[in-house]
Amino acid sequence: MSDAALPPSLQAIREDFLALSVPDRLQLLLEFSDSLPVVPEGLVDPDAWERVEECQSPVFITVDTQPDAVTVHASAPEEAPTTRGFASILVQGLHGMTPDQVLAVPPDFPLQLGLQNAVSMLRLRGMSGMLWRIKRQVEETLKASGSTA
């Protein structure tokens, strides 16, 4: 676990989770699920959505990588609140970060939220897959634009 490397927004989310009892962590995850920002129609090219294969439910992400800020969009059905919650944590937690900051997020961040016993390791892998795909999209955009990460 690499606390020092965690950006302030993710650190705050982590502290919020760890301050709660295990059942209450599930409720916080549900609040994240309910507050997943709605992607306005027409904002994202339908071809730009990437399916997160690691998740058991159909969840799609796309990343808008600008030189000064990264914006993640995610779409997941209401019948899959756990997956929506994972997506929402990343959408909100990564909001406004620079590409370099996103790439520096530790890959084990999903395991730092104390959800192993509440949600199970198996389900948490979906969130790790999401984070990995977000970073890969950022990297690809940087490569295509000739910047270095």
Binding site: L26, E53, Q56, P58, T82
Partner: protein, 297 residues
């Protein structure tokens, strides 16, 4: 005290109609003493977004499995879980869930390992209840801890281990995974790559009958005559056969196990919960690839 069997005509043709209830029956009896309603979903938060009034959440992953060994709870832990949830040994339990009741069937199977006598599924599960516009609530019932006896799990009747499957080869074996998993093109279920195995294919002689062959689009089980067509007429299984079902971790095959045992009336059906995540990673067990069952070694 057991509740009487749901007398609905749509259940009457099944071999054991006392193992299913309709949404209308559940709504009518909801809240009566001695009836416990459990929701068991793939998604651990789905219950919290709204559930059938009075229903208690049970999670297949975090509550029914031993936290260390790949096994189910033991008798002490199961009794403690039942007590926490306010379930008594004599209660009638109705289980429902998402995904055509996969995880509800899995939970029913685990309860059956502990010999809980009266466990039923809600035909159609969560989706059917919602599709009919029936009431949902976010109110979580507060359980009064019950006295539940410590009953040791009995694995010999309805659970198969790898060694049992090896000794069974040549007798009816049903692989309920997708055709791509059966043939070996995929080592995991579409969209479930985290539950993979090292090798792809199927257990020799296993017939490919994907679980959905037993389900309708609305999540309910197919009528008895259609199940007879699928499993007896087309596959050639005969009542009286010893049958083992498997998938990747035993959840979809619990659905087929339920169909074979309670809807068609096969007396001796076992679910191999180790399933492909064990078999496809085990050393020197025989594997067949392609779309044909293959021969017993």
């Amino acid at each position: 005290m057991s509740f009487p069997t749901d007398p609905s005509p749509e259940l009457a043709d099944y071999a054991h109609p006392d193992r299913l209830v309709t949404t209308a029956w559940l709504e009518e009896h909801s809240g009566e003493d001695g009836l416990v309603v459990l929701e068991s979903n793939e998604d651990v938060l789905l219950y919290d977004t709204g559930h059938i009034p009075g229903a208690v959440k049970i999670d297949w992953h975090t509550e029914l499995n031993d936290p260390v060994v790949r096994d189910y709870l033991d008798g002490d832990a199961f009794a403690a879980l039942m007590s926490r949830k306010g379930i008594r040994r004599e209660d009638t339990i109705v289980i429902y869930g998402d995904k055509s009741n996969w995880w509800a069937a899995y939970t029913l199977w685990v309860f059956t390992l502990f010999g809980h006598a009266d466990v039923r599924l809600l035909n159609g599960g969560r989706d059917a209840w919602i599709a009919e516009g029936r009431e949902l609530t976010k109110e979580v019932p507060v359980a009064t801890p019950s006295e539940y006896p410590v009953v040791e799990r009995r694995d010999d009747d309805i659970r198969a281990f790898k060694e049992d499957v090896l000794a069974h080869l040549g007798k009816p074996l049903i692989d309920v995974r997708s055709p791509e998993e059966y043939s070996g093109e995929r080592t995991h279920m579409p969209a479930y790559p985290e539950e993979g195995a090292l090798r792809g294919g199927h257990i020799p002689t296993a017939r490919s009958v994907p679980w959905a062959m037993a389900a309708q689009d609305d999540g309910r089980f197919k009528p008895h005559r259609d199940l007879v067509e699928v499993y007896l007429t087309k596959q050639g299984f005969a009542l009286g056969d010893d049958v083992i079902t498997y998938c990747r971790i035993g959840e979809r095959s619990s659905h087929t196990w339920f169909v074979m045992k309670y809807l068609l009336g096969f007396d001796n059906v076992k679910n191999y919960d180790g399933s492909w995540t064990e078999w496809g990673s085990a050393v020197r067990v025989p594997i067949v690839t392609g779309d044909q069952p293959g021969e017993a070694p």
